[in-house]
């Protein structure tokens, strides 16, 4: 059985893209969130093996969501999704507990590479 994934991004368009890439590779997308708060709630409910997290979201940003999730679930595997030029923020997210990152615009091969890395 392929790992379960929770996708968090405030843009529907982005969520759809990631969902397509991951589903095609056999991953199970079990939930979606559009804000940081939703991301934390969904995680509690679904306990996914992987989370993809956007940085900038309304109602609690991605970094804070990472902190909250890690606080409750230290083993959580979170992959940050970042736009170009957000180096410092990504580092902050990694310091908060995220495991790796991918950049937009997404290249499917790189996304899958990163996912494999963090799940191995």
């Amino acid at each position: 059985m392929k790992p379960s994934v929770l996708i968090c991004d405030d843009a529907l368009f982005m969520r759809t893209m990631i969902k397509d890439i991951l589903s095609e590779a056999g991953y199970q997308v079990v939930g979606e969130a559009a804000t940081g708060a939703e991301a934390v709630e969904q995680f509690r409910a679904l306990n996914p093996e992987l989370v993809t997290m956007d940085i900038v979201m309304p109602d609690m940003g991605g970094i804070d969501a990472v902190r909250e999730i890690i606080a409750e679930h230290p083993q959580a595997t979170i992959l940050m999704c970042s736009a170009m030029g957000q180096q410092a923020l990504v580092i902050e997210a990694l310091q908060a507990g995220a495991k790796d990152f991918i950049v937009k615009p997404f290249q499917p091969s790189r996304v899958l590479e990163a996912v494999q890395r963090v799940l191995s």
Binding site: S82, Q87, A88, L94, D100, F101, A114, R117
Partner: protein, 621 residues
């Protein structure tokens, strides 16, 4: 993390400047405790030192500096009595800071733990957010062990300016191959290097070069100056060679070109020599503090002044000169100047006067150390010398200044009342005289009982390039620096007088001790042609006359660093390569003169033994 050892030399020299300033201010303050104007500049100096110690990781000294800052701050607006009471502690604090400067500054890579790996990573250009990639790699490394010496520092990873390269030391249990694989698995990075770190052969002294603040001074490592001078020296030798090769054959343009090159070389040489010239305050700045401390220890009151601190001399002379002066100053305080009570009884001012004067006299530097103390007791010296069987018959009346000097600079003759007195080694003037002679200089003394003593030191301004007289003696060529030559002449037989088996030359009514140079060096018996070529040496002690086989003319020579083989008579100041490419030894005239007088005093027979010089002269090249 800064690798402190790279900055060691610069740190030391700058910190020393600040310590000297601090000492100067404290001395000034001690003279006028009620005048608080030295306080703020002293505070600033200590504050700066504190910062410097911290930057170099010398935490102990940084702490002391902090405490010293507090002590100073507490004296703001204080009355003179409080200041006077606090000053000994302030001086002690300054000493602690100065001592901290001689501490070894450990190289950051010196204490490499066994098994440390040097790791270098690069994020390929096409990787987005390279800083974050590097950060992930760093995080992985930290999981494997301890990371240190991180370049660039971690907070630079978030900057746009991050180059993509990251290096650090990693102490890990895992072996290099495992570490490399783990780092590689991070993805998006190339592991360029992952191998055991060698002990860095980092020199702990960096050539401290600072861009000069507009028009002020530039710090240059001494080795570079010496290197520059060496090269100019070689060029000069080459010039001589060229001149020799083309002598008589050079026509028109070639001759003109050589002539021009020759002049430019002389100019260049002058310029480089100028660079090596250093004002004497570099050594005299420490003296006021030294004199004060010596005076305190021996219960004397001394008023010390330095004149001529801006006179420049060649940096190579500074070290030895400093030692000699320290000796003379200590002696003046310990043995020359009387205790305040005694001085008052004698009708002298309570505070003794000690003066250091530096003057330039043509191509020589003169340093006078004079005190208004009790003077040198010639009777005591004469009888001590007789008692020790050194020389003389105890008759003091006939002791001239130069004879007195000879005696007091002889080891074992000291008129110090007690050997346990502060300097602990008696007068020690023999050391001073020896050091000066080694530099090609000389020492003179003038003294009146009850009034005071003056020592005069003479030194040549420069050592490296000399005008010299070339002579032939015993089949070999020697160079005698012109500076020390009083004159040359050819003596007729009747001008040479023999007394008690010793030869003297009659010069202007005086009898001057005469010996053949070859005999002096023990290489052969000197010839006795007539007229006899004679070089008069006048290096400030007693004039002497050296007989040679032949005069070979004058030449400008470059003195080269000279390491004599063991057993060489130390009568040579250096060696040089003459225009024909062959080596020649340079005579140290003061040493030669001293030796001549010794031989004369002990009988000419002593000179008949062939000295070790014969084999050694061949060795010097």
């Amino acid at each position: 993390m800064i690798d402190a050892s790279r900055y060691a030399a610069l740190f030391r020299s700058e910190a020393l400047d600040h310590v000297e300033t601090l000492n100067r201010l404290l001395l000034q303050w001690e003279g006028e405790p009620g005048d608080l104007s030295p306080l703020e500049p002293a505070f600033r100096a200590v504050h700066t030192l504190k910062g410097m110690f911290s930057a170099m990781g010398i935490d102990g000294a940084g702490q002391r500096a902090h405490e010293l800052e507090n002590s100073l701050a507490a004296l703001r607006g204080a009355p003179a009595d409080d200041v006077a009471a606090a000053l000994p502690g302030l001086f002690a604090g300054a000493d602690v800071l100065e001592q901290a400067l001689s501490v070894e500054i450990p190289s950051a890579t010196a204490a490499l733990p066994a098994g440390a790996l040097q790791v270098r990573l690069r994020v390929p250009r096409e990787e987005p957010l390279p800083g974050v990639r590097a950060f992930l790699a760093l995080r992985k490394a930290r999981e494997l062990g301890t990371v240190s010496n991180l370049h660039p520092p971690e907070d630079a990873l978030g900057d746009d300016g991050f180059s993509g390269e990251l290096d650090f030391l990693l102490e890990a249990e895992a072996d290099p191959a495992e570490v490399e694989a783990a780092l590689d698995a991070v993805g998006g990075i190339d592991v360029l290097t992952c191998r055991p770190a060698e002990d860095a052969a980092a020199p702990s002294v960096a050539p401290a070069e600072e861009p000069g603040e507009a028009g002020r001074f530039v710090r240059v490592a001494p080795e570079r100056l010496d290197g520059l001078l060496d090269r100019v020296g070689e060029l000069l030798i080459l010039r001589d060679r060229l001149q020799q090769l083309t002598a008589g054959e050079a026509r028109g343009e070639l001759a003109g070109a050589i002539h021009q090159a020759s002049r430019m070389l002389s100019d260049l040489h002058q310029a480089v020599m100028q660079v090596r010239m250093v004002p004497v305050w570099q050594i005299t700045n420490r003296f006021p503090r030294l004199v004060r401390d010596a005076a305190q220890r021996s219960g004397k009151e001394v008023d010390f002044q330095v004149e001529g601190r801006d006179v420049e001399l060649d940096r190579s002379l500074l070290g030895k000169l400093s030692e000699s002066l320290v000796h003379l100053l200590r002696n003046a305080v310990d043995h020359g100047i009387e205790a305040p009570g005694e001085r008052e009884r004698l009708g002298k001012p309570r505070r003794g006067r000690l003066r250091l004067r530096v003057l330039r006299d043509g191509a020589q530097v003169e340093v006078h150390v004079s005190d208004d103390g009790r003077g040198i007791d010639r009777d005591a010296v004469a009888s001590k010398a007789a008692e020790r069987g050194v020389a003389g018959n105890g008759q003091s009346a006939a002791l001239s200044d130069s004879e007195l000097l000879e005696l007091i600079t002889t080891t074992g003759v000291s008129t110090a009342r007690s050997v346990t007195e502060v300097s602990g080694r008696g007068v020690g003037l023999d050391v001073v005289a020896r050091q000066l002679r080694a530099l090609g200089g000389s020492l003179e003394v003038g003294s009146t009982v009850g009034t005071g003593t003056t020592f005069k030191l003479r030194l040549p301004l420069t050592l490296a390039l000399l005008q010299a007289l070339l002579v032939q003696a015993g089949g070999q060529r020697f160079a005698i620096p012109l500076l020390q030559v009083g004159g040359t002449l050819e003596a007729a037989a009747h001008e040479i007088v023999g007394l008690n088996g010793r030869d003297y030359l009659r010069v202007r009514g005086e009898l001057v001790p005469l010996l053949g140079l070859a005999t002096l060096l023990g290489i052969s018996e000197s010839g006795s042609c007539s007229p006899l070529p004679i070089v008069l040496l006048a290096s400030g002690e007693r004039p002497v006359a050296l007989a040679v086989d032949q005069f070979l003319g004058r030449q400008e020579i470059v003195s080269k660093e000279f390491r004599p083989a063991a057993g060489t008579l130390n009568l040579f100041a250096g060696a040089t390569i003459l225009g024909d490419g062959r080596a020649s030894l340079i005579l140290n005239s003061s040493a030669a003169a001293a030796r001549l007088l010794e031989i004369h005093a002990s009988g000419v027979a002593a000179a008949a033994h062939p000295g070790p010089a014969s084999s050694t002269i061949v060795a010097a090249s």
